[in-house]
């Protein structure tokens, strides 16, 4: 069942233009009429199903644990949770299981792990391709059948949600999605736009050139967004004028008709045809030429969706931070960031989170002696940078190591609560899903884990995984 949402349609000019663009690519002819009809509710060529579709029969599930981790660093003792139709509907110490309702008990209940940087659930060649652009969508590459084994492993390890991206060989790889591991079903189809400034083999000048190309693409997208906004504003003024004219015409209809009939008559007598202008058609504002790539990137520039950029080396990172300063509304997220410690203060100040993939330092590697190895997450966090932990999108099955990676980060200096945040509430916040998942609260989606101990401890077992209210894994089953 595909019940997912995109971000709320704010009826923004860009959005309408985008919809129009899709209609065009779908083969609709561009006519003056269709342009004029733009203000009608935009026809959705690929209708998106209503979000939060409710299952036919109400399903109930009761969970109980000695400790419920509500959010990182905050827990409640001895709690019961009632899940109804995929949501947490009640929580309390004195809450008892309703009769006949399936009950799962454990030591700890916490939010399901979210891998903020993954390719699990995505068709393998789409994940690696370079044949994508800013407007390509990861939801088009989901492959729940080809990836079923990988996804089943994730349910066992408690990684129930993933932010996936495609086109790891492309500079800009389009719109990534947040999906549930259970069936690779999208939760948010437009989670982020992703790009990369990571080409280890390239010479420094070309590497800086990459950043500049990205900067001019962002600039182009911004210009496009401004042009669209200007057009919208002009169109509105023009429409108001037309409306005024219509009213005048209606009011003076008789007078006008008389005068027009007279003019027509005169013209006929003189053997001419009357050239008349009903409205000032020639002055109708013209929209900028629709550009799907720019429109997509403009959403990132405008801060509507976050922009995730994979960058490792200091050269690109410094340049990236410089060129993105003017884009004040853009929500930049770094991925990788092995040299990010050099810029920790600026990252903290600008509120740029970093998705770290804990890995050993390699003395001969990309960032050489500066490579902090496994200590990166802990040191960034200590300097006030928000750290997320991701499996790095190198292979689909890597996502199942997420809790191990977070634990390894703790073993190398990251605070335990920060590590838990890095794979639950953190990704939920950065990708605008905090009102749905990432913590345990009444009203939120029931994407939860029942554990035998603390979430990151190596001796803890995942007793049950609950994805959208559904028990998708139970230990021993």
């Amino acid at each position: 069942m595909r019940s997912y949402s995109t971000r709320p349609d704010r009826r923004s000019p860009l959005r309408r233009l985008r919809n129009l663009g899709i209609a065009l690519t779908a083969g609709a002819a561009l006519t003056a009429a269709s342009l004029a009809a733009q203000d009608d509710p935009a026809p959705e060529p690929a209708p998106e199903p209503a979000p939060e579709a409710v299952p036919a029969a109400p399903s109930l599930l009761f969970l109980r644990a000695n400790k419920v981790i509500v959010s990182p660093g905050k827990s409640l003792d001895n709690m019961g949770l009632l899940v109804r139709d995929g949501r947490i509907v009640a929580m309390g110490t004195d809450l008892a299981a309703p009769e006949g309702v399936e009950t799962i008990e454990g030591e700890v209940i916490c939010a399901a792990f979210i891998d903020p940087w993954s390719v699990a659930g995505v068709d393998a060649s789409s994940a690696r391709t370079d044949r994508v652009d800013t407007a390509s969508r990861a939801t088009d590459a989901l492959d729940p059948y080809g990836q079923d084994e990988v996804l089943d492993d994730l349910l066992e390890s408690g990684v129930l949600m993933l932010r996936v991206e495609i086109g790891s060989a492309a500079a800009v790889s389009g719109v990534g999605a947040v999906i549930r591991a259970d069936g690779a079903v999208p939760v948010l189809a437009d989670a982020a736009i992703s790009a990369r400034l990571y080409a280890p083999g390239l010479d420094p000048v070309s590497r800086v050139g990459q950043v500049d190309r990205l900067a001019s693409a962002l600039g182009g997208a911004k210009k496009y967004a401004d042009d669209v906004a200007t057009y919208e504003s002009n169109l509105k003024t023009w429409e108001e004028e037309i409306a005024k004219k219509e009213t005048e015409l209606a009011e003076d209809f008789k007078k006008a008709k008389k005068s027009r009939d007279k003019k027509v008559k005169e013209a006929k007598e003189e053997g001419e045809e009357l050239k008349e202008k009903k409205y000032k058609e020639d002055k109708r504002p013209r929209p900028p030429k629709f550009d799907a790539k720019k429109a997509s990137l403009a959403r990132a520039v405008g801060g509507e969706v976050p922009m995730v950029i994979h960058v490792e080396q200091a050269l690109e990172l410094r340049e990236l931070l410089r060129v993105t300063r003017p884009f004040t509304r853009m929500r930049l997220v770094l991925a990788g960031g092995r040299s990010a410690l050099l810029f920790a203060d600026e990252l903290a100040e600008r509120g740029i989170p970093v998705i770290v993939t804990p890995a050993p330092s390699s003395p001969g590697g990309d960032v050489g002696e500066m490579d902090p190895g496994f200590a990166l997450a802990g040191e960034l966090s200590a300097r006030g940078v928000e750290v997320l932990i991701g499996s790095g999108a190198t292979s689909a099955s890597a996502s199942r190591d997420l809790p191990l990676l977070a634990a390894a980060a703790v073993g190398h200096g990251l605070d335990e609560d920060a590590a838990f945040h890095a794979i639950t509430a953190g990704p939920a916040r950065v990708f605008d899903l905090q009102s749905k998942v990432g913590s345990v609260r009444r009203g939120l989606h029931a994407d939860l884990l029942v554990l035998s101990g603390d979430p990151l401890s190596s001796s803890t077992r995942v007793l049950a995984s609950i994805s959208g209210g559904k028990v998708v894994h139970q230990a021993g089953n």
Partner: protein, 368 residues
């Protein structure tokens, strides 16, 4: 302060033997064989563990450590610091090769291993050789060879077959190996292996490769271990009957292998000893602990996970008399952890190799 020094008893002035002696006191001492001694003193003298007890030793400096002490981990394959000097490329078999010559103590790669608590490493021949020589046991921290000619390494996987040079088939491989064993003069490495005096480490990956290796080992009376065998869970009975152990290899990505998790659980249940390697993985020296942690999250007991990285690994490498446990007479290869040593969330506070402090997080960690 992670480590605080205090004088437990009046120092014996002029006691030369005691100059080298010290004791570590910790809330938990993991012996390595599954036993944990609470609130214990580990007394070290001349680089060797003198005693482990609950009683304060007299006349030695006591270092109070905040955490758990465990034996240094043993990786049963790590070739990163060998360049490719362990892999002879032109000959399939060099059974008398001494792989301690491939050990480069100056390689910077060893440092990372030590900081992750690995103090002993087995340096075998490359996977593409059939009888590649005799593995050495080395100490990456001390830069020393601990034992030469420790284990005979045999490559019995597809990686050992040539595409245009013989042998190109498993039939050819075993014919070649049989000839090597037949021709081995008395006292030579292969003859010693055949006599059961030196353990072997046979690399076999697929189930049929493992099956063939077990048959060969039975026919020639070989003792030791199979390295590889991710699907060992399908061959538990055969492995149990063979008396051989299993060494699981680290993986690239993901660091945890699901097959290995299943196999480790099955072997643990059947009491077939197993161990891990640290090389060939994307997680470097941590790969070994990550694989063990993956097994634990699937239900492997923490004690069994620790044994696999200490006591059992030492036994497989034939160095259990000197390494792998914290007991009287064993080398003082000790790691101080912030918590249980098998837990990935535990941090390495300090590492001692042969009684010397070789790594301290206090000196290295910028974030402390």
């Amino acid at each position: 302060m992670l480590i605080s020094c205090l004088i437990a008893a009046a120092p014996l002035l002029g006691a030369t033997a005691a100059d080298d002696a010290f004791a570590l006191r910790a809330s938990h001492v993991h012996v390595g064989n599954g036993q944990v001694v609470l609130d214990a003193f580990v007394v070290v003298e001349d680089g060797v563990v003198k005693s482990v007890s609950n009683n304060a030793p007299r006349g030695v400096r006591v270092v109070e450590v905040d955490g758990h002490i465990a034996p240094g981990f043993i990786s049963l394959r790590e070739t990163l610091g060998a360049g490719s000097e362990n892999a002879e490329r032109t000959r399939k078999s060099t059974p008398t090769a001494d792989l301690s010559f491939a050990f480069d103590p100056t390689s910077p790669n060893w440092k990372g291993l030590v900081s992750e608590g690995v103090t002993t490493v087995l340096l075998p021949a490359g996977n593409s050789q059939i009888a590649g020589g005799q593995a050495a046991i080395v100490s990456p921290a001390a830069g020393e060879v601990l034992k030469r000619n420790a284990v005979v390494t045999l490559g019995l996987s597809r990686a050992a077959l040539g595409s245009s040079t013989a042998p190109t088939s498993f039939a050819g491989l075993y014919a070649h190996l049989g000839e090597q064993f037949a021709a081995a003069p008395e006292g030579s490495p292969l003859a010693e292996a055949k006599a059961g005096k030196v353990p072997v480490m046979m690399r076999a990956v697929t189930r049929s490769e493992v099956h063939r290796a077990l048959e060969f080992a039975a026919a020639y009376g070989l003792k030791g271990a199979v390295i590889g065998a991710p699907e060992a869970d399908d061959l538990v009975d055969e492995l149990k009957a063979s008396g051989l152990a299993v060494v699981f290899e680290s993986k690239a990505a993901p660091a945890s292998s699901k097959d290995v998790v299943k196999s480790a659980l099955a072997l643990s249940k059947a009491e077939v000893p197993f161990a891990f390697t640290s090389d060939a993985g994307s997680q470097g020296p941590l790969g070994m602990r990550m694989q063990a942690a993956a097994c634990m999250r699937a239900g492997l007991d923490a004690g069994a996970a620790l044994r696999a990285m200490t006591a059992d690994a030492a036994r497989i490498a034939g160095v259990d008399a000197t390494h792998g446990t914290i007991a009287t007479g064993r080398a003082a290869d000790l790691v101080v952890w912030s918590g249980p040593p098998t837990d990935l969330t535990s941090r390495v506070h300090s590492v001692y190799a042969g009684g010397h402090l070789v790594h301290s997080a206090h000196a290295h960690g910028a974030h402390q």
